[in-house]
């Protein structure tokens, strides 16, 4: 299950992409994002294999959220290519093989492979837990209400909220709201799930229940996950790989044992010791 093993399984030279075996599910290729003169993602490269759990850590403002938001198409990028399952997200190939900016239809097709959970939950306040979960399957996937409800109930049971189906977000604790948000994202059957500091808005005693759900998700499903987190303990136990972000680039990455146990870069060491001190 370790990174080492994963690497051993795949030859060093990339197999011809057509055979598909080592095709990354998500690929950032020289992705750059700027806000005015501020470069937030700086020619960033990242490949995530199917089923891989990647934790993203790093100082505030280093571009961690921007990475997830660009992948979710909540932000445009200024340069480079993002691919999901071998297809570019913001561009599409013409018949002649050229890449042109993607139209809405192409973007929606690719975006459907990605789900996201936000720090601030962002549940729909006018819908109860079950309605929150079935809204997109019914409206976007065209699922029947009965089918969506049945799946919705299963998903809410999976996150431990089978007795809260009719509760509105205002009637749920933060931890419960976040679990509804996870169920809501899963209801769209994404291949990749993005978690952006999903426990940061929660009281410490409520973090555990959300992390448990994520942990369980990782074990039960072959779901690919990208997770921005400040909880080093969780990253260490859960992730296959940890990426340390610094100034819009991946400054250092490796297995949790490597990165936490034996960081090579000075920045990484400084960041980790600062985090340790804070706890």
């Amino acid at each position: 299950m370790s990174m080492q093993q994963r690497f051993d399984d795949s030859p060093m030279v990339r197999p011809s992409r057509r055979d598909g075996s080592a095709e990354p599910l998500v690929r950032f290729d020289q992705v750059t994002k700027r806000y005015g003169s501020l470069t937030v993602l700086d020619q960033l490269n990242l490949e995530v294999s199917p089923g891989e759990k990647v934790a993203i850590i790093g100082p505030s403002g280093s571009g961690k959220s921007t990475l997830l938001r660009a992948l979710m198409t909540l932000e445009t990028i200024d340069d480079g290519v993002i691919e999901v399952d071998g297809e570019p997200l913001t561009h599409m190939p013409t018949a002649g093989g050229h890449l042109i900016p993607a139209n809405a239809r192409h973007q929606r097709r690719i975006r459907g492979r990605i789900g996201m959970v936000f720090q601030s939950f962002n549940l729909f306040p006018h819908m109860n837990a079950l309605q929150n979960v079935i809204e997109a399957p019914v409206q976007v996937l065209g699922m029947s209400k009965a089918e969506a409800s049945q799946r919705g109930e299963e998903l809410l049971a999976m996150v431990g909220l089978e007795d809260k189906l009719g509760h509105y977000p205002a009637q749920l604790s933060g931890g419960q709201q976040q679990r509804v948000a996870i169920a809501r994202a899963l209801a769209m059957r994404p291949k990749v799930m993005l978690f952006d500091e999903v426990t940061s808005a929660l009281d410490p005693e409520l973090c555990g229940e959300v992390l448990n759900v994520i942990r369980q998700l990782g074990e039960a499903h072959n779901l690919t996950m990208l997770m921005v987190t400040h909880q080093m303990g969780f990253a260490r136990e859960f992730a296959d790989r940890v990426c340390f972000f610094y100034k819009g680039r991946i400054h250092e990455q490796g297995t949790p044992e490597e990165l936490f146990g034996n960081p090579r870069e000075e920045r990484t060491q400084a960041f980790l010791s600062a985090v340790n001190e804070a706890h």
Binding site: M72, N122, Q139
Partner: protein, 219 residues
């Protein structure tokens, strides 16, 4: 007094009907006007801005006169019944104010709601219809209630385009009977009751839209 009441109630009924239909039109104009103003498509934006500014910037009475007296003439040749003109004029007029209220209400919906909708791959139409609009309508209810009561009060102008509304009946009966105090007292009560009906209806809508949310609409 016994003979007065039926005529007064007839007038109140006219007022009520105009208020009802004009309110529906005003709400539709408010939503569409706000959407137009927020549209990324420039011609739509200009069209909405023109509508809003023209109908807010000129007097309702003149608008009614235009619709009733000017439109039938060349080059327009559009002849509308007095009732249609009343509904159209009041609806468009209050709708222009409503559009600004709705615009504010739409913008008050948290950005996270847009982001969550996008992450769930909703089309812009689904997002607006199912996520943004219900929340914006809730936020628009308090100022919207004021506007609808304003609309009710403005209906008294329709007697100037020949409709026999409540205010018109009151003046007519006053001149015929000189029971000034009784007639205008009753008029006051009837207007007040209608305003309270609007209040109540809006409160019910608020309760429906705000179900499960902390009172005041902020969850």
């Amino acid at each position: 007094m016994g003979e007065l009441l039926p005529l007064m109630l007839q007038g109140a009924w006219v007022t009520l009907q105009i208020t009802f239909w004009a309110s529906l039109l005003a709400i539709a104009c408010a939503v569409l006007g706000a959407l137009g103003r927020l549209s990324p498509f420039a011609p739509l934006r200009w069209f909405s801005i023109t509508y809003i500014e023209v109908f807010r910037g000129t007097s309702l009475l003149v608008q009614l006169f235009w619709l009733y007296f000017v439109l039938p003439m060349p080059p327009f040749h559009v002849e509308l019944s007095a009732f249609s003109v009343a509904v159209l004029g009041l609806g468009l007029h209050i709708g222009a104010y409503g559009a600004e209220v709705m615009r504010g209400a739409i913008r008050s919906v948290a950005p996270g709601q847009y982001e969550a909708s996008l992450a769930l791959n909703m089309t812009p139409l689904t997002r607006f219809r199912r996520i943004i609009l219900p929340q914006a309508l809730l936020a628009a209810i308090p100022p919207g209630t004021n506007l609808l009561i304003e609309l009710l009060k403005n209906t008294s102008l329709v007697s100037l385009i020949t409709l026999s509304d409540l205010a018109f009946r009151a003046r007519q009966l006053d001149q015929a009977t000189f029971m000034t105090l009784e007639i205008f007292g009753l008029t006051l009560v009837l207007y007040f009751l209608m305003a309270q009906a609007i209040n109540l209806a809006m409160r019910l809508v608020e309760r429906r839209l705000g179900r499960g949310r902390i009172k005041g609409g902020l969850a």
